[in-house]
Amino acid sequence: MSALLEVDAVDVSYGDAQALFGLSVTVAEGETLAVIGANGAGKSTLLKTVAGVVRPRRGDVRLDGASLSGVPAHRRVGRGIAMSPEGRRLFPSLTVEENLLVGAHSRRPGPWALDAVYALFPLVAERRARSAANLSGGEQQAVAIGRALMANPRLLLLDEVSLGLAPVVVAQLYAALPQITAQGTTVLVVEQDVHQALAVADRVQCLLEGRTVLEGPADRVDTAALSAAYFGVDA
């Protein structure tokens, strides 16, 4: 398997506060990588760096070997990177269907269109004419994932799918993931919910204060070592 995404030793700062310290992340084509960590570990910053929302001070981000430095966020979508951002960030004055159509703005060809997203999330289909402002949290998250899929990404970035949702709703959302990866889509998921992350991912990488403290295959990772790494205590 060749690497689709290479994050190579990036430093990212917000003003004086440095969030990532020489962080490297590699995701192979077709793989699902879960990046886990506590609040402030730099997980969301990593996704924002890949999406082009924040620029690294040092280091490089490459997609399929080509550097993305100097490529603004809106053009990365055309290259095949789509994100479901933290907090869903739906467009409240648009209907559910309009939100999905905005996701297809870059007109990348591929398997995902309105019908396919509605088949994946039947609940979203029922709400298609409703304003995106009047949805439950789980429905909003499903629309946000569907909206990212509408861009037909090679690399799908999922930021904190579980945030603020009941465990049963989170499980329903993650149940859709195999149907997404079955299309060959590479997924980079950021998650605080470790069990959920381990259940869906091929590989897991744990961050602490902007650095990698543990990584390995999701099915063979030692949970004691993982929880130590997660909280930053010596096992």
Partner: protein, 289 residues
């Protein structure tokens, strides 16, 4: 009958105000910029039509075929070159930049055309009227101006509601950063919005210049009436702007029927009353960013 007449003329005048205000409303709705150069840009368009009439003998409505695309191009350039940069500088920066632009444009027009009053000559169309009943006649030109106002506002509304670019514009208005994650280039989209706004300003400017005399300083009054129409109707709401224009126009016409000196004053009073009692306007937009 004179009251009916005043109301009818006021409604027609309101359609013209809505035409003037449409671009202001669009730019505010999409980018939250209050364009203080809006009025003087309308005057610029009127001078453009005046020059075309003076040198090539073009009828003002034919001149629109040139003035509208030129103003749209100016709008795109203005947004990309100046206003997008100003947007990065906080809420006050675009206000100050458009204010400065208004001052510069007004003085440039004064330098080029002097302070003389001009008027765009419509020929026989300017005085033609349709008798409705005894004592009530509707001028063809005011009717045309009002219909144009309604058509322009309806067209912008349909553009925003039905086209992919309009949808992207509403999304960007909601959340520009999230829109960028969908592949939408906010800088380009803002340029398109201002291009559309200035295209409508060009139409409005030519109608204003044909309705009464204008000079380089006429931008201030134009801006105030447009701004009042937008605020009365509700910030960011296009149909509200049409309603606001009509309310303003009727207030001015009825005020003028009482005493010709009270026309403009009555409009301002209604504006203040609306601002005091319904600060979000008569038809506030459903979602406020």
């Amino acid at each position: 009958m004179s009251w009916v007449n005043a109301v009818v003329q006021g409604i027609l005048l309101g359609g013209l105000y809505a035409l003037v205000a449409a671009g202001l409303s669009l730019v505010f709705g999409v980018m939250r910029i209050v364009n203080l150069a809006h009025g003087v840009l309308a005057v610029l368009a009127a001078f453009g039509a005046y020059v075309l009439g003076d040198t090539l003998g073009l009828h003002p409505f034919l001149a629109l075929l040139v003035v509208v695309p030129v103003m749209a191009a100016v709008g795109y350039g203005l947004q990309r070159g100046l206003l997008n940069r100003a947007l990065g500088g906080g809420e006050l920066a675009p206000l100050l930049v458009t204010f400065g632009l208004a001052v510069v444009l007004q003085n440039a027009l004064l330098e080029a055309f002097s302070a003389d009053s001009r008027r765009l000559d419509l020929g026989s169309l300017g005085t033609a009227s349709i008798p409705v009943t005894d004592g009530l006649a509707v001028g063809v030109f005011p009717l045309l101006a009002a219909v144009t106002g309604v058509v322009v506002i309806a067209a912008i509304g349909q553009f925003l509601a039905r086209t992919a670019t309009g949808r992207a514009m509403r999304a960007t208005s909601d959340d520009r950063d999230a829109a960028a994650l969908m592949g939408i280039d906010g800088r380009h989209l803002y340029g398109v919005a201002t291009a559309i706004a200035l295209a409508t300003v060009a139409i409005a400017g030519v109608f204003l210049g044909a309705r009464s005399t204008f000079d380089p300083a006429a931008g201030g009054t134009t801006l105030i009436f447009a701004f009042e129409a937008v605020v009365i109707g509700g910030l960011g709401s296009l149909w509200g702007t049409l309603l606001g224009g009509v309310v303003l126009g009727v207030a001015q016409a009825v005020g003028a029927a009482v005493d010709p000196a009270y026309g403009v004053l009555a409009g301002h009073v209604v504006f203040l009353v609306v601002l005091a009692t319904r600060p979000r306007g008569l038809l506030p937009s459903a979602v406020t960013a």
